[in-house]
Structures are given as C-alpha cells and as structure tokens.
Symmetry: C2
Subunit: 246 residues, 2 copies
C-alpha cells in the first residue's frame, strides 16, 4: 500500500428521519466527508438526503452513489475496493447512525481490511450508544442482541434466556425493534422480565420527541408505556443479580 492509497471513511448518518437534520458531525469531519466524490450507501435516496445536508463540495448529481449489495449476496469485493487501491477515498454511509453497527457495511469494511486499505471511522450518532449512556444501566458490561424473534412465544423464550444472562453477568442487554412492533416488544418485556429488573425505553434519540425513561419493571407495569408506531426505540434492561442459591 503506497501513501497515496485511498481510505474507507465510515460516515455516521443522522438518527432523526427528517428532511433537514441538525448538524450531526463535528466540523472537521463534516468537511472531510463533504469533500468526497464516491459513496457506498445503504439506500441511495436516503444517502442523497444526508449528502445534501452535509453538504458536499461537488454538486449532488455528480456524486457516485452506489448501494451496498444485500448481506446474503456472494459479493466479489474487488471492484468495490479498486477506487481506494487507486488512491481515491470512499465514504460508507448507512441510513441512520453508524455504518456496520446495527446497520449494513461491515462486510465491505472487512474486505477493506483484507486488502490492506485503511479504515477511518468518524465520530457520530449511534442510538445504541446514546441509549446506553442515558439509561444509567451498567455500561461496564453490556451486549447488543439486535432484533428478537417476531413470534411471541419465541420472543418470550429469548427474553428469558437474556434475562438470565443479564442477572448472571450483571450485563445490560440492548435491543431494537422495527417501530411498528415497539409496543409488542414493550409488552413482551413487561411480561418476561422479573419485576425488580430495570428497564429503559429510549425513543427518538436526538429527535424532537426524544424520551429516555429508566424504571423498575414493576413500576412500568403499573403505568405501561404507550409507544409511537413510527419512531425508533431502543430497549435496555438489567436484571438483579442471581441469588447465591442459584
């Protein structure tokens, strides 16, 4: 790799799905990201909205914006990496938050490492991280488990397994859900978790309806949450330590 090699720049995207998001990068990173001409993205339409908001130095219609292949595709990454090997820095952008974290992009990043291309992540919003910080739950040990099964009995079973893990390792468990299933997820959590567990529900982080509430499960049961069907939510819980008798 020569010093003229291009890098893969990981560009976080805004979390709030609005036409004109507030600035979400620090100034020097914004300029760096805005100077590029080629982007690999999750959804071109969404990416163009964020690139317009950055804004980019080059006119929007002159940018090369290419959607990432499906995760299950047997992608030959060579052609994706060629511009970087030729010296051009390329931006990777997902629809919301950080590429590769609860979002596509990791396979391209892995391929870049294998080809010796430098990967440079920019500081930016992540709903998982913001939720964890704001939850007050254990940030010394936590795990992100993505989406749980949709089918109710399977989901309750998964929650029981995760609540044991949380109790045993004092580990905060972080989950997300498709917005229209937020309420079903909350209902399952209130059913499956022991009453003494702490449950945090973080809605619309960085957005205008942001709300972060951490309460014991028994308190949530007395006043169950009514969750919006169109706003993203993060769910976090921490169970009480397993009793020594276990």
């Amino acid at each position: 790799m020569t010093s003229a090699a291009g890098r893969l720049l990981l560009i976080p995207a805004p979390l709030e799905q609005v036409a004109e998001p507030r600035a979400w990068l620090c100034e020097s990173d914004r300029q760096l990201a805005g100077s590029l001409a080629r982007f690999y993205v999750e959804t071109p339409k969404t990416a163009r909205r964020w690139l317009k908001a950055l804004p980019t130095v080059l006119p929007l219609q002159s940018l090369q914006v290419k959607p990432l292949p499906p995760a299950d595709a047997r992608t030959v990454w060579q052609e994706w990496l060629a511009p970087m090997i030729d010296g051009q820095t390329v931006g990777l952008l997902s629809d919301a938050g950080c590429p590769g974290v609860a979002d596509p992009g990791a396979l391209l990043v892995r391929a870049a490492h294998a080809a010796g291309i430098e990967v440079h992540p920019l500081i930016g919003p992540s709903s998982l991280l913001l939720a964890l910080m704001a939850s007050g739950l254990n940030g010394q040990r936590f795990s992100f488990q993505g989406y749980l099964p949709v089918e109710r009995a399977e989901r309750l079973q998964a929650l029981e397994r995760l609540s044991r893990r949380s109790a045993e390792g004092q580990e905060t468990v972080v989950l997300i859900e498709t917005p229209y299933r937020n309420q079903a997820m909350a209902d399952s959590l209130l059913q499956a978790l022991p009453g003494g567990s702490q449950l945090c529900i973080a809605v619309d982080l960085t957005g205008r309806s942001q709300s972060v509430l951490t309460r014991p499960v028994q308190a949530w049961r007395r006043a169950p949450p009514a969750l919006p069907r169109k706003l993203p939510a993060v769910f976090l819980f921490l169970c009480l330590p397993a009793s020594p008798a276990r």
Copy 2:
C-alpha cells in the same frame, strides 16, 4: 417536575489525551455544553482541560466542578440532584469518551431517572463504538466485557469462555485493557483464540497514532503486534461458528 426543571447533560470527552484536542462535539452541542456552570466529573484536572478546550462561556475558575464519588461509596444522591430539581442544568463529564460507558457516571444517571430528572446524552466519541464500526466484525450482535482478570491463567480461562460465546451466537466480543498491559492482552488473545477467529486491534482512536487492523488470528501469530504501552487500545474478536456437531 415543572418545565423549569434542569436536565442532566451527558457530555462526551475527547479520546486523545493531549493538551489541545481537536473539536469532538458538533457545534450546537458544543455551545450547549459550554453554556453550563456546574459539572460533575470523573477527574477535576482532566475535566478542566476539556472545559477549557470547549470553551465554556463562563471563566474556568468560576465553574463548579465536583468529582464523582467512588463507585463503591454509599452515596446519597439527593444533594447532587438538588441543583437540577432547582432548575439548573448540570453537565456530566468523564475523562475520555462517553460518561457511563466503560467510564463512571451511570449511578448518577440512574439516580436522576429515579428523581424524574430529564437525561440528555450528547453525540460524541466512544472508543468502543469507533472500534466496532472500523473492525468490520459483526455489529448486529456484540458484547462489551470490560477488563478481563489480570492473572494470566484466569484471563485465558475467561477468553476461552468468551470465545465459545462468540462462536455460538456469532457475537463480536469487545475488550479494553490498561495501556501498559496491552501487550499482555494481545499475547493472551493470540494464545487463547482459535486460529480462524478474526481479531481486531484498534489503537489510539481519533489520535495521531490511530491504527485499526483486523486479521485472522493465524495471520497475527505470524506477525505478532507490538503494542504501545501508553496508548489506549480496544480488542475485538469474532470466532467462526461452532460446528453443527457441537
């Protein structure tokens, strides 16, 4: 809680431990954090360096900067929360990265929730998140396990347990270590992990010596890393799926 209630603002700190860090917050958040007069912090000396760099609107010597109590103290949080209940917004600041995530602060945040105080997290650097993004490892399922035991045999045992967990759930495991033990940690990882596992070592994220490399363990074994004794590192690994015979 009246609408005049103060909030608890979670302010990320720079990761690079230098006298004059580059800007690490987006402009509107920088202004918000810089407008405060009272801060609860991990280490006052370090916090004052970041507050000077923000900078704050009020002169540095007029700020109220109070160190957080030790994690094992039986803290009565009432007096800490009183300024917020009285309407003043207070900033929470740890030494590096995001308060409450691999850093102190979560107990105060939890107390704020219990008192009905609004908690507002700002976007900022987290070495864990940047490392995960840049690693190319699985960001759909991961766990942060903090520090492993220092004693070598115990550490190897912990790594074996975590590598089983990684294989079974295809979960990326994220670890940190005190910088002067970075090399010992890398040595243990190369010894304990199966050769086909992917290991990422991320050093000095956002700093001048930033380096992020992801390679199979067997490749690291052929060219073992020489890690700096004074720069922070994040270690991440992902083991190959357990064979169906298990």
